[in-house]
Symmetry: C2
DNA sequence: TGTACATCAGTGAACGCGCGTTCACTGATGTAC
DNA sequence: TGTACATCAGTGAACGCGCGTTCACTGATGTAC
């Protein structure tokens, strides 16, 4: 063969990674196949030997961007625990770099309009996220209470990050991030400087 | 003139109302000018005697869809107070009818990518929303505390509504709405059945 | 009162452009003999 | 060891289509005389 073994897989991975970043940065609809392939160092014709359609790539990119795969912000709740993770999620760098961040916050309103197959990928990733947050909540809560609280925390984080991104005034934007952190920590049972 | 007085204004209003609904339902990019004009009972050519560009219409539609204008869900916090408003915001009918609902939840992730002029319209509407929520919070909070809490409540509502719309399983979706309500009521200092 | 003209909201053909997708092709390599 | 052929990842021209936008036009009405 023309290319060394594993070359195609490598290319495939590169396209998915490029798409996962561009979709989160510019939205799914705004990013064209040709544009994406060029960014991956290829021509657009080859796209269909890797994917059956753009929608097929969207699904793969959603999987890639989901919280279970590598992700600069708010991926797994590592050591440092929930507080650190919450602060990391609503930090300014995450607000300013959606392309490396949480897919839910970057694409939520577009997500709701996607075909069911793509939404299923997202649903599963949200479920993992919820379970992960719940497992870090205080033992004083019942399992059902943990789950409910975990969903509320994630809703707050997603909402706050999006509002912080949409607003024009930087001070207002930071105020939203801080309000989100305070509220999420509160929900998590972590005492914060809430007045 | 061919048409009675006020006819053009009437048409203008109809286009904006149609756009405000369709943008929230299908996203801004997905909705074409010709499609929109047809839905308003007109042909696409006349569009540019009403607006300078599609972007101009987006701004007008954002204004129309903002919480200060008439809106079936979660518009003003009327009598019935904050609790009723929160429950109304996260009710199933709002989830299922983004075209009549909150623009922030319907468009948040697209909003962040819009030009500054459109985002300014949104920012102002968010500011009004924040003030309105804050004014209904218990007097035990300081003004700064009220503001922070108001932002957190709105973040939670926006995030929860979007996640509820994105998820595939109806039971999971309703669970998200309920978790959002419980958490928002909690933040608002209204005792709820949180376990 | 009757005629000629100006107005202007709305029409619909046409524009250049970029989209997702298809397909005949290229050309460096591995394999068969 | 040398030659002929099969493979197949990637190329780039071309497809139909819908987009936002432009513009010459229509035709019912109000106005001027």
């Amino acid at each position: 063969m023309r290319y060394e073994k594993g070359h195609k897989e490598e290319t495939h991975r590169k396209i998915v990674a490029t798409a996962a970043a561009r979709f989160r940065k510019d939205g799914i609809e705004s990013v064209g196949v040709a544009d994406l392939m060029a960014e991956a160092g290829l021509t657009h014709g080859g796209f269909y030997s890797h994917f059956r359609s753009k929608e097929d790539l969207v699904r793969a990119a959603m999987e890639e961007a989901s919280c279970h795969s590598v992700n600069n912000f708010a991926c797994r709740i590592e050591e440092g625990g929930l507080e650190r993770w919450i602060r990391s999620y609503l930090r300014i760098a995450h607000r300013d770099h959606p392309e490396k961040g949480c897919a839910a916050a970057a694409l939520a309103s577009e997500l709701a309009r996607l075909p069911k197959t793509s939404r299923t990928v997202f649903s599963e990733s949200l479920e993992r996220m919820t379970t992960s947050i719940a497992s870090h909540l205080p033992a004083t809560l019942t399992p059902a209470g943990k789950r409910k609280t975990a969903i509320a925390i994630f809703s707050t984080l997603v909402g706050a990050l999006q509002l912080a991104r949409a607003v024009v005034d930087p001070a207002h934007s930071e105020e939203i991030l801080e309000a989100g952190i305070a509220s999420a920590l509160d929900l998590a049972g972590i005492s914060s400087s809430r007045q």
